[in-house]
Symmetry: C2
Subunit: 360 residues, 2 copies
């Protein structure tokens, strides 16, 4: 069930129009993910860098080429890429993968924008300013091209620890996002994230809002390449309708766009899962409200009715969102007019297929 | 003026329908180009490998990022990428660049399909068979995606010495293409090409037609990555209308598609310049005839009326075609309904601008 969770009027006119989209998945990496306890994406720390390409490969092929297993939490809750795969498949939505700073390149066709992965913001600047500028320019150029071939674009992302760098970026831009960004774990490690962000801000001499007018500098000091890639793509394709498929990370992107190219915000909505919007441990609506009148559209996937505990876990605060899952499911239903139940049944079937593929 | 040069009936119904295309430029390289006297693409031998990325950059930006000068013959006849740039710009046709085995990667966004450049076929196999298979599979996958977002696709290429590997491939596939492939020079070095091809065939134990049923093996032994990339893209996107933008090299691609996926030929035309079709030193019509009923559409750019000798040289047998110029100009006029004169005036202006950009 698709719900208009914020700015419903504008959201409603958006979804009435949104038909036959192109799905973009931006892969990225930040070494910030290697701080202890920060993320459960990827089964162990040395595998973290494989999560983004593995997500892309899983969506494309139904299995991963870069690593053997599918990206999952250590106890086997599946990657949200599973939802994305089903959503795109049933509505025949094409996906293009963009390397927005992945450490490991995906084993499938992808768009190269000369990006680079981000460093651990506790220890050093995330990206050189020249890298940020190049990534930004290339993303705008690419967005302009893609906007010419598709009037409707969904942009998802896969980056481990992305909510931590999102928190850092938002603080630098003057949005007090403490305790508001979400997590892929039920016990959101807010204090750990804050500790990292405070260290990063101190290291780079940033205070709340001190880089309000310098978004590229903010990305360079304490952001990641994913956020500037998605911002650039959105700005380049701003004649198209853009559905940012993701949770609180997308707020960092709104904050960037607001300064970099304000008018682009008129063509953007955020599409995510109910598990993000209803999360008691984060607050996407409050974050978006503080930045812009951008609608939030959410989808109730009904995963509590799934046959598989790994998927039911999403309703207990695990995973929640990622790899553009929520937005892809929204776009899928808008294009296909399938019912929620049909989507859920297909997700359940894909789960079984995935387990079979893994065993064989 | 657009002319139906072969299979006019089918060509006519194709161009009536062909409207709002996506332009793909496939960049590639073969060390076969480093044999003495084989090509004039690139001002000297050490620069040959820069020609493909430079073509792409020139079309995108109006100048080259990878090298200082624009790709040109040693005496300054401009790259056909200049025509492509103007054609795409005036009709607002988006270009995506695909790395189909370039040695130097373009300094701009491009699609990575895990390709690799080809070796000198005189000395060794062009590509490992596993590489050929991977490139082919990735190209099909990418073509399928692009076919979903665009019903009309133009595919051009930039590879130095591509007519030599095309000749080799055609021979292996049983098409006696001797003295029929074109050249970027007025005195087509047929004997030199033949000498290279005969050495390559001898080295790999290939006789005329001996790999007729093994197109991937033929590419591996004596082809290049461009041809299998364009074949794969065409097969993947075979629900779209495809205009292969190039000269006699495109015949190698037709020969591959004919065996790999015969039905794809129904949706293909070749689009090129009058300078190729009317060339006395090569014979594209005879080549196509021998392979399939694929229409040839050509454009008379009227370059003899250009203000610049470098462009008038095209009518004296220099350059003739490349970087998808002929097909891009055809697609441009079909989309924009501009007159030939307007196209020519824009080409002349771009030539002046280019010289100014280079001097500044």
């Amino acid at each position: 069930m698709i719900k208009l969770s914020y700015n419903p009027e504008k959201g409603n006119s958006f979804i009435k129009e949104f038909k036959d989209p192109l799905f973009l998945l931006v892969l990225s990496y930040t070494e910030t993910a290697e701080n202890d306890g920060i993320t459960v994406a990827g089964a162990d720390k040395s595998l973290l860098k494989y999560t983004p390409p593995a997500d892309a490969e899983f969506i494309e092929y139904g299995y991963c080429k870069s690593i053997d297993a599918i990206p999952a939490t250590p106890d086997g809750k599946p990657t949200p890429a599973l939802l994305t795969r089903v959503a795109l498949r049933i509505a025949d939505i094409p996906m293009l993968v963009i390397d927005g700073g992945s450490k490991i390149k995906p084993s499938m066709p992808y768009l190269d924008i000369s990006s680079t992965y981000a460093k651990n913001i506790v220890k050093e600047d995330a990206l050189k300013i020249d890298d940020v500028k190049r990534i930004y320019e290339n993303s705008i150029l690419l967005g302009r091209k893609l906007g010419k071939i598709s009037k409707y674009i969904v942009i998802g992302e896969s980056i481990p620890a992305g909510t931590t760098t999102a928190l850092a970026l938002l603080m630098a831009m003057g949005i007090d996002a403490r305790f508001k960004v979400s997590s892929s774990m039920p016990n959101n490690p807010h204090n750990l994230k804050l500790d990292i962000v405070e260290k990063a801000m101190k290291r780079s001499g940033i205070e709340l809002g001190s880089l309000r007018d310098k978004p590229l500098d903010a990305v360079s000091h304490i952001g990641d390449a994913m956020m500037i890639t998605v911002a650039g793509l959105s700005i380049g394709a701003s004649n198209s309708k853009i559905l940012l498929a993701g949770g609180t990370q997308m707020c960092a992107i709104l904050a960037l766009i607001k300064v970099l190219n304000h008018n682009t915000l008129d063509n953007i909505v955020i599409g995510t899962t109910k598990y993000i919007v209803d999360d008691k441990d984060s607050n996407i609506i409050s974050l978006v409200k503080e930045i812009a009148d951008v609608p939030i559209i959410s989808i109730d996937l009904g995963l509590e009715r799934s046959q598989h505990d790994g998927l039911r876990a999403y309703t207990r605060g695990f995973v929640k969102e990622g790899a553009g899952a929520g937005g892809a499911c929204i776009a899928s239903l808008l294009k296909s007019n399938y019912s929620n139940n049909k989507l859920l049944n297909n997700i359940d079937e894909e789960y079984l297929l995935t387990i079979k593929r893994q065993r064989s």
